[in-house]
C-alpha cells in the first residue's frame, strides 16, 4: 500500500498559490526527500499531508485514509519545522503525553527505546526548558516515532543539529527504512538527502519540477580518463563512449590509470532545477 499519495494537490493562501497541482507518492518503506527553495511549498505539502492545512483542490491520503482523518493520523508521525514542547515536561513526560494521545501501548519500553534511538537516554528526566535546541529537536523526532507510525513526515528535522546529531538522525532514518517505515523528509541539506533518500522531488513555486532517484536525476557530465600524460576530460562523452575512448588512447600509446564517468551531484541537479532561486 502507498504510504502517502498526493494527486493534483493545490493550496491557495489569499492570492498566493502555495501548491499548484502537486502529484507525489511515497511507497511503503521508501524514503523520499523533498527539496526546494524557501516558499516553494514544501512545508505546506507536509502540512496538508498531516491535516494541519486544508487543500484548496486535489487529494491526499495516508495509508489509504484521507489526510487529516483519524485513521490517517493514527498511521503517521510528524515533526513540524517550528515546534515546542511545554518547558516543564521532562523528555520522558513528553513521550508519555504523546503515547496517551496516540493510543500507544508501548509503555516505558517504547520510551526507553525511542530515547536511545535519538541519543537522549541520559536526558530522560531533564526538563525541556533545560535542553539545548538540538536536544529538543531530537526529542521531537522521538515524539514523531511514538506508536510506530507507518509514515513519518519530517519537516527540517536536522536544522538545529550539529554534525554528530545529523549523523544520528541519518542513521536513524536508515534503520527506519530497514523496518519498513516510510519517510517524507523535507530538508535544505542536499548532501543529507542524497545520502539517505531513495527518491527526491524538487518543488519550485508550488509545483514539482524534478523527481526521481538521485541516479535518475543525475545527468552525464562527460568522461574523465587519467593517463600517463595526466587527466583528460571529454565533456560531451557519455558512459557508452568510455570503451572507445580508452581504446583510442591505448592505440595511441597512452597508459591508462583510471576512468570515471562524471555525473552531476544532487546539488547541481537542484541548482539546475530551481534556476538559482533562493526564496
Amino acid at each position: 500500500m502507498t504510504a502517502l499519495a498526493v494527486s493534483g494537490l493545490a493550496k491557495r493562501y489569499g492570492r498566493v498559490d502555495a501548491l499548484r497541482g502537486v502529484d507525489l507518492e511515497v511507497g511503503e518503506g521508501e524514503l523520499v526527500g523533498l527539496l526546494g527553495p524557501n516558499g516553494a511549498g514544501k512545508s505546506t505539502l507536509v502540512k496538508v499531508a498531516c491535516g494541519l492545512v486544508r487543500a484548496s483542490a486535489g487529494a491526499a491520503s495516508v495509508c489509504g485514509a484521507p489526510a487529516g482523518s483519524r485513521d490517517a493520523l493514527r498511521s503517521m508521525g510528524y515533526l513540524a519545522e517550528l515546534f515546542r514542547f511545554p518547558g516543564w515536561y521532562s523528555a520522558d513526560e513528553v513521550l508519555q503525553l504523546h503515547q496517551r494521545l496516540s493510543g500507544s501501548t508501548g509503555g516505558e519500553a517504547e520510551r526507553t527505546q525511542l530515547l536511545e534511538l535519538v541519543a537522549l537516554r541520559d536526558a530522560r528526566d531533564r526538563r525541556v526548558e533545560a535542553m539545548s535546541k538540538g536536544m529538543q529537536q531530537r526529542l521531537g523526532i522521538a515524539q514523531a516515532l511514538v506508536g510506530e507510525p507507518r509514515l513519518l513526515l519530517l519537516d527540517e528535522p536536522t536544522s538545529a543539529l550539529d554534525p554528530v546529531g545529523r549523523r544520528t538522525v541519518r542513521e536513524l532514518l536508515e534503520s527506519l527504512r530497514g523496518r519498513g517505515t516510510s519517510v517524507l523528509l523535507n530538508s535544505h541539506l542536499l548532501s543529507e538527502v542524497e545520502l539517505v533518500c531513495d527518491r527526491v522531488a524538487i518543488l519550485l513555486d508550488g509545483a514539482v519540477v524534478a523527481a526521481g532517484t538521485p541516479a535518475e536525476l543525475a545527468q552525464a557530465r562527460g568522461v574523465e580518463i587519467e593517463t600517463d600524460e595526466g587527466k583528460r576530460v571529454y565533456e560531451d562523452a557519455r558512459r557508452e563512449d568510455a570503451p572507445r575512448l580508452v581504446a583510442e588512447l591505448v592505440a595511441a600509446g597512452r597508459k591508462i590509470y583510471a576512468v570515471s564517468v562524471r555525473t552531476s551531484t544532487l546539488e547541481e541537479v537542484y541548482l539546475d532545477a530551481v534556476g538559482g532561486e533562493t526564496s
Binding site: L52, R54, R74, Y78, R100, L101, G140
Partner: protein
C-alpha cells in the same frame, strides 16, 4: 476518552504552572484580607448608623458589601479565565505548541473541548472558593447571610465559564494580545451596560433599562451577574430592595430560569462557532 482527559490534564497542568495563576492567588489573598478588614469596621460601626426610614441597615450593609465581593470574585475569575485561554489556538500555533497535539488522532473538537474543560476545572473551583470565603467573612463579621447561598456562586462560576468559552472562540481568530483586549472589552461593555441599567432604574428611565437588559442578554455574563446579585436578597422587599437593586457595580435584577437557559444556549452557540472555525483553520 483517554486522549481527551490527557488534554484536560495538560491544560490543568499548564494553568497551574502559569505565573498568572500565582498572581491571581496573591491578589485574591490580598482582596480577602482587605475584605475582612472592611467587614470588620463596617459592621462594628453599624449600631451607630441611622438609616433612612424603611431600610434595614444590616441587610443593606451585608448585601452591599457582599455584592462588592461578588464583583471582585467575578473580575478575578474573568482575569484567570482570559489569561488561561487567550492563546489556546492561534497563540499556541504561532509558538509551535499546538501542532504536535493536533496531529494526534483525537480530533480538533475534542482538543478544544478538553482545553475548555481544563480551564473550567481551574476557574470554577477558584470562583466558588472565593465566593464562599467572602460569604464566610461577611457572615462571621456581620451575622448576615444571603437569602440564596449556592445559586449566586454557581451563576458567577457559569459567567466565568462563559468568558472562557468566548476567549477560546476569540483565540481561533486573534493573536493572544488582541484576543485578551477584545474579551476584556466585551466584559467591560457588559458591566457598563449594567451600570446604565442601574442609572435607568434610579431615574425610572424605561428606555435605559431596556437597553441595559438587551445588552445583558447579548453578553449573558452580565445577566448572570445581575441575577446572582438579585439572588442574595431574593426575599428582601420594600425600600431596602429598591436601594439594593441599584447595586454596587450594576443592578441586581432577578432574571431567573430564562437567563440561565439563555446562558446555556449561548454557551452552545459559542461552542459550535468555535469548533466549526477551529475545524476549518489552517495551522
Amino acid at each position: 476518552m483517554t486522549a481527551v482527559w490527557t488534554i484536560v490534564r495538560y491544560g490543568l497542568e499548564e494553568a497551574l504552572r502559569r505565573k498568572v495563576f500565582a498572581v491571581v492567588l496573591l491578589l485574591t489573598l490580598g482582596f480577602l484580607g482587605l475584605f475582612w478588614l472592611g467587614n470588620h469596621y463596617a459592621f462594628r460601626d453599624l449600631s451607630g448608623v441611622q438609616p433612612p426610614a424603611g431600610i434595614d441597615a444590616r441587610t443593606f450593609a451585608g448585601s452591599f458589601i457582599f455584592g462588592l465581593a461578588m464583583f471582585a470574585t467575578l473580575f478575578l475569575g474573568v482575569v484567570l479565565a482570559i489569561f488561561l485561554t487567550i492563546g489556546v489556538v492561534r497563540g499556541d500555533a504561532e509558538r509551535g505548541l499546538l501542532q504536535p497535539l493536533v496531529v494526534r488522532p483525537i480530533g480538533r473538537s475534542s482538543l478544544l473541548a478538553a482545553r475548555f474543560l481544563g480551564t473550567v476545572g481551574v476557574c470554577v473551583p477558584y470562583v466558588l472558593a472565593v465566593y464562599f470565603a467572602s460569604m464566610g467573612i461577611t457572615g462571621s463579621a456581620g451575622h448576615w447571610w444571603p437569602d440564596r447561598i449556592v445559586t449566586p456562586g454557581l451563576e458567577l462560576a457559569a459567567a466565568v465559564a462563559l468568558v472562557a468559552a468566548l476567549s477560546l472562540l476569540g483565540s481561533v481568530f486573534l493573536t493572544a494580545t488582541a484576543n485578551g483586549i477584545a474579551i476584556f472589552m466585551v466584559f467591560g461593555a457588559g458591566l457598563v451596560a449594567g451600570l446604565l441599567g442601574t442609572i435607568g432604574h434610579a431615574l425610572s428611565s424605561h428606555t435605559l433599562e431596556r437597553a441595559a437588559k438587551i445588552a445583558a442578554y447579548v453578553i449573558p455574563v452580565e445577566a448572570l451577574y445581575q441575577d446572582a446579585l438579585g439572588q442574595i436578597t431574593a426575599d428582601t422587599h420594600g425600600v431596602t430592595r429598591f436601594v439594593l437593586e441599584l447595586g454596587p457595580f450594576g443592578g441586581a435584577y432577578i432574571g431567573g430560569t430564562p437567563v440561565r437557559l439563555w446562558a446555556v444556549a449561548y454557551l452552545g452557540i459559542v461552542a459550535a462557532v468555535a469548533l466549526t472555525a477551529f475545524a476549518r483553520r489552517d495551522l
